[in-house]
């Protein structure tokens, strides 16, 4: 299994896509998802941070990092 920064795109049967930037350590995760969604050029249906990112926010260390658009 390949680890590290990667983007997984699930292209649904109707052509809509779920774009997921994984294991990014900074705001670049937002940049790469926007890069791909701009290529797809369609309406954004949903946009959110994944649960594991929210869990990390609760730790004292990452709490200080709030303000980054990607935390």
């Amino acid at each position: 299994m390949i680890r590290g920064k990667q983007v997984k795109v699930l292209i649904h049967v109707d052509g809509s896509c779920s774009v997921d930037a994984i294991e990014f350590s900074d705001a670049s995760c937002l940049k790469v998802t926007k890069e791909i969604t701009s290529a797809l050029a369609g309406r954004v249906i949903d946009e959110r941070y994944k649960p594991e990112a929210r869990i990390r926010q609760r730790s004292p260390h990452t709490e200080r990092e709030r303000g980054s658009s990607c935390v």
């Binding site: 390949i2 699930l10 292209i11 994984i22 791909i36 290529a39 941070y49």
Partner: protein
């Protein structure tokens, strides 16, 4: 950290759309690409009011078919012109399984287009792109090479 976006796909890249049509079984010689929109013709050779920049002529679509085309709009997106006969809807709903451009084929074109447009963009940025078709009919694309 992980950021997630769900979005629709809109045809905007003519080259990616042509590549998608090739992936869907059409031959390069069957796909016309025009800078200026050209007229579409019906199954009897009658000129239709619709115009298109990307065209597959009726003889390449099937028996009794009409021209199929995609017209570039002022916002850069492409609108598909597919007759009810060729898409198997309306009065031709009974042949929706056999119609060449039925909903299944239209979805397949959109799916292939989405892959093409992502792969072209990301490979152009020096990244590795791989894909696999899932049993559900969905396609999983993985992009590596981020620094």
């Amino acid at each position: 950290m992980s950021h997630f976006v769900e979005c629709e796909t809109t045809f905007r890249d003519a080259q990616a759309l042509v590549a998608a049509l090739l992936d869907c079984g059409f031959d390069k010689l069957q796909i016309e690409l025009h800078e200026q929109a050209v007229p579409l013709y019906g199954y009897q050779g009658d000129k239709r009011p619709q115009m298109a920049h990307i065209v597959i002529r009726r003889q390449h679509v099937g028996v009794g078919a009409n021209d199929v085309g995609w017209e570039r709009q002022s916002d850069g997106s492409y609108t598909a012109w597919i007759s009810e006969f060729d898409s198997g809807v309306g009065q031709y709903a009974s042949r929706k399984e056999s119609a060449r451009f039925n909903q299944v084929m239209q979805n397949k074109i959109k799916q292939e287009y989405a892959f093409q447009v992502i792969a072209r963009q990301q490979r152009g940025l020096g990244r590795d792109v791989s894909r696999q078709r899932l049993p559900s009919g969905e396609m999983e694309v993985v992009v590596h090479g981020y620094r």
